[in-house]
């Protein structure tokens, strides 16, 4: 295809991606280097027969002028990255010096928002992903063994948790585990403890969010594995059976190697999707015990009347950096494949 025709065909698509994905990433970076102007404050003294009073007021005119002159705010360099909302370098140094054990140190670090969010996001990603892979594979094997008549309805029912809006899906579960909801109330009865609440305990909140994550994404790995199972070569299975392989051995040595490329694909998608976990935290109102990086950015942007663009920008840049690290192995692999293909 000629370069000019190619450009004409791809222009609309490339320009929206450039304008609304590439440029915002740059603009987020610039945002993160600046800090909001301080309001210009006028101190005035009012005297009346009863004495003098100083009042402070915001000089709106001067503030607006300042804003017009430099709409991005004051240049702040990388200070936003190192402040206590983000890497908190000073505070960590202090915590290191003042804590007597490593656990105490870790506990202190956990109080800073970025580390809190990172620890939940990473735990969530690396717990949910393997569970989804493993359970999805089991269900796929199970459905493959079902009579044909039942397969269609089973796939239909399985798709629902994934298709439903994350915010809505997690709300549905939230209402059920509520102290008065069907699961919550039943658990209280089983343990005979009326104050038992899944929402009040940090550990249970984390577990609940991860159970939701597994419930929500398992259909995806199930469907992909199920489709993969249909393509397992019949001859190889038969050959293995003739050689005396048991069902387990056949699965272990024929089916699983055949599905490996699929597993890598699913892992990649799951890592990307789990890393941006956000909606369930809103639905479960879990922010007291569990925050994710996306939630942190959202919170910076929602901060009272003045969105903290610099803080949101810095957190976003850190997120993008983490995503880059997650993707690196895949990118290197694709690059190598591509080069080999071109050589050959």
């Amino acid at each position: 295809m000629k370069h000019s025709t190619f450009l004409l065909f791809t222009l609309p698509s490339l320009s929206v991606m450039f304008l609304f994905i590439a440029i915002p990433i740059v603009s987020v970076f610039i945002q993160s280097l600046h800090i909001e102007h301080k309001q210009v404050i006028i101190v005035s003294e009012n005297c009346d027969p009863f004495g003098c009073e100083t009042t402070t007021s915001v000089d709106t005119e001067a503030s607006t002028k300042l804003k017009e002159k430099a709409p991005l705010g004051k240049f702040n360099g990388f200070k936003t990255y190192s402040n206590r909302m983000h890497f908190a370098f000073d505070e960590i140094g202090e915590a290191w010096n003042s804590s007597d054990s490593f656990i105490a140190f870790v506990k202190k670090i956990y109080n800073y928002p970025l580390y809190r969010a990172l620890s939940f996001t990473l735990t969530y990603t690396f717990v949910v992903t393997p569970f989804v892979l493993f359970l999805g594979f089991l269900v796929a094997l199970g459905v493959n063994n079902l009579p044909k008549l039942l397969k269609g309805p089973t796939i239909f029912a399985s798709l629902l948790p994934m298709i439903v809006t994350p915010l809505v899906g997690s709300l549905i579960l939230f209402w059920m585990v509520d102290g008065d909801g069907v699961i919550g109330a039943t658990l209280q009865k089983i343990f005979n403890d009326n104050s038992l609440s899944l929402k009040a305990s940090p550990v249970l909140t984390w577990v609940m969010l991860m159970v939701y994550g597994i419930w929500h994404l398992m259909p995806f790995s199930f469907i992909v594995f199920y489709a993969g199972l249909q393509t397992v070569p019949h001859e190889t299975i038969e050959a293995a059976t003739i050689d005396g392989a048991s069902k387990f051995q056949r699965t272990r040595h024929v089916v699983i190697p055949h599905l490996m490329p699929l597993a890598i694909f699913i892992t990649l998608i799951l890592l990307m999707d789990n890393f941006r976990v956000f909606e369930p935290i809103i639905s479960f109102r879990a922010e007291a015990h569990a925050t994710s990086i996306s939630w942190l950015i959202w919170n910076h942007l929602r901060e009272s009347a003045y969105p903290l663009y610099n803080a949101a920008g810095a957190t976003s840049m850190i997120t993008i950096f983490c995503v880059g690290i997650l993707l690196l192995p895949v990118l290197i692999r694709t690059w190598r494949d591509f080069n080999e293909k071109n050589k050959g």
Binding site: T5, T10, F20, V164, G181, G228, E279, S283, L326, L331
Partner: protein, 293 residues
């Protein structure tokens, strides 16, 4: 082939059967429970004393005279004006899908037919863009959108959703067009068509299965989005999902949780029918990138 063996009940089969049955209960029960409960009053749906109340509607019968009530739906759709959000969602979803598919088919086709190295780089860039958490992008939009005075309106949200959707659409349609033999449009070009005519008269008539599948996923992305719509739309332009989220705070205080339950069921119902009618396309779309990859 060997039907006798396939129908025999072995222990492995029974375990598989039980396991799948368990998964089905886990997958379906929350939906059935919430759908049934949305026609009850709060005292039944959130019944601490006895969960059976939610099934038989003990309090619902006492309060409304019938064990079945649509108060929740009336409250959310009419009193809280949920219908506005439904209209906004329809507009956003319709245009997002339309524009995404137009841009995506053109781009995906060109990427599939180009033999140059840059096509590969564009796809790689797409993969990286696909991995960007949407929240990081949204934090970059707010300041310029406020400055240009385009924040809060539907067109802005639509174009942003199109952009966020584009990497995925490109990938999917690219792999779909790779499956259409090159010879088809090349022979048309031998007969004197230029590239656009070949695309118009040869490719467009046969591309609909792939476009429909991709369209379903664009639909889901636009319909399910919370991050973008909650940050970029003003209150009067709110779509369904952020409306449900903001509703939660207000109705919870007034003890009208059932309004939110009804709204949640209303938002899920279209998806339910979507899966019912397009199950095959969704499954093939999910596996399209994977089985080949």
């Amino acid at each position: 082939m060997n039907t006798k063996i396939e129908n025999k009940l072995t222990p492995v089969r029974i375990i598989a059967f039980v396991f799948v049955a368990l998964w089905l209960i886990v997958a379906m029960f929350p939906f059935i429970w919430t759908l049934w409960g949305s026609f009850k009053v709060q005292a039944d749906f959130f019944s601490k004393a006895d969960w059976a109340n939610a099934i038989f509607g003990f309090h619902t019968e006492k309060q409304t005279g019938n064990f079945f009530t649509i108060d929740g739906y009336y409250g959310s759709w009419i009193e809280e004006e949920f219908w506005r959000a439904v209209i906004n969602t329809s507009i956003v979803v319709f245009f997002t899908v339309l524009i995404s598919l137009t841009f995506g088919t053109l781009g995906g086709y060109a990427l599939a037919r180009s033999t140059y190295r840059y096509a590969f780089w564009i796809l790689m860039a797409g993969l990286i863009f696909r991995a960007m958490p949407h929240m990081t992008l949204v934090s970059g939009y707010l300041q310029p959108f406020f400055a240009w005075n385009v924040w809060g309106i539907l067109p802005t949200t639509i174009i942003v959703l199109v952009a966020i959707n584009q990497p995925f659409t490109l990938w999917m349609l690219h792999s779909f067009f790779l499956n259409i033999p090159k010879d088809l449009d090349e022979s048309a070009m031998c007969d004197g068509c230029n590239r656009f005519q070949a695309f118009r008269y040869v490719i467009i008539p046969i591309m609909w299965p792939g476009v429909i599948t991709t369209g379903l996923f664009s639909f889901l992305l636009a319909y399910n989005d919370f991050t973008v719509t909650s940050m970029l739309l003003s209150d009067e332009n709110e779509t369904m999902i952020p409306a449900i989220a903001s509703f939660l705070g207000t109705v919870q205080e007034e003890g009208k949780v059932m309004y939110a339950v009804a709204a949640v069921v209303s938002a899920t119902a279209p998806l339910f029918f979507l899966v019912m009618f397009f199950q095959r396309q969704i499954v093939s779309g999910l596996t399209a990138g994977a089985v080949k990859g």
